[in-house]
């Protein structure tokens, strides 16, 4: 119930955002519209908590932007210079994330960071296979992900 309600609100906001018209009537219209769409598409979906996450969310976004920029520069340097300093490979990263949303978000964030690419998640959801450009030390690489992205993400989502 709560979940659906929240999605509904979220979609209403998206509607208002993309229409770019902020009258009250537009909120109502968007709400009705989202309600209809949710009705059409509803199938069971996991629950999530929606409070106490705002501060964490902000710091997470900042962290992500920092990582993004850093990694981008690293890759950029490698691209511009004639020789490659890469040590690429596919690493098996065990997961703490459990739900679909957690896993997906984590995987996507890893992919968005330059130098790493989430290739796939094992069918039992225990392992994420990541292709990475710079693997100087495998364990360290795994820990970086687990302590960095995964930990912060799970804090927000759980």
């Amino acid at each position: 119930m709560k979940n659906r309600f929240l999605s509904n609100i979220l979609l209403t906001f998206i509607w208002v955002a993309i229409t770019g018209s902020f009258e009250f009537s537009n909120y109502v219209f968007g709400f009705i519209l989202s309600f209809i769409i949710l009705y059409v598409i509803t199938q069971g979906r996991g629950n999530a908590k929606y409070f106490k996450i705002v501060p964490k969310l902000i710091s997470f976004v900042l962290f992500f932007l920092y990582e993004l920029l850093k990694a981008n520069l690293q890759v950029a340097y490698d691209v511009v210079t004639p020789t490659f300093y890469m040590k690429p490979g596919i690493v098996r990263v065990p997961l703490d994330a459990e739900t679909n949303l957690e896993i997906t978000l984590l995987a996507n964030l890893i992919t968005l960071t330059p130098g790493t690419l989430s290739l796939d998640v094992s069918d039992d959801r225990k392992v994420l296979y990541v292709h990475a450009m710079y693997i100087s030390d495998k364990e360290e690489f795994i820990q970086d992900i687990k302590q960095g992205f995964e930990k912060r993400l799970l804090e927000i989502l759980r």
């Binding site: 596919i90 098996r92 690419l117």
Partner: protein, 132 residues
Amino acid sequence: MTDALIIILSSLGAIFILLAAVGFLRMPDTYLRISVTTKAVTLGVGLILVSAAIYFDDLSVTSRVLAIILFIILTAPVGAHLIGRASYFLGVKMWDKSVMDELEGKYKKFSHKLDSGDDLRDDEEKEEKEKD
């Protein structure tokens, strides 16, 4: 002031995109190319779109720009994941200086089920043998 901001942001964006393009061209294997591009471009697109938002300075434009960025952040990694995964199925070789491949042999040949590596039995082969 806004002009300067636009110029800086768009220049940064353009440079990131150019770098991504160069990287895409230069990288030695498919996975690296996927890896390099998804993000550099995401960043570049984001920056340029933001400069557009600043230029028009209009709420509806801004919200649209944010929507675009959101969509790209949402979809780009998924696409990268899909095509990377598909390449692996197809047996696209990794760069010969690659240091490891922990995914090797983990995909089931026909069902494309992916093993976590904890249980090394190959169900599929077993099934095959039982059938014969």
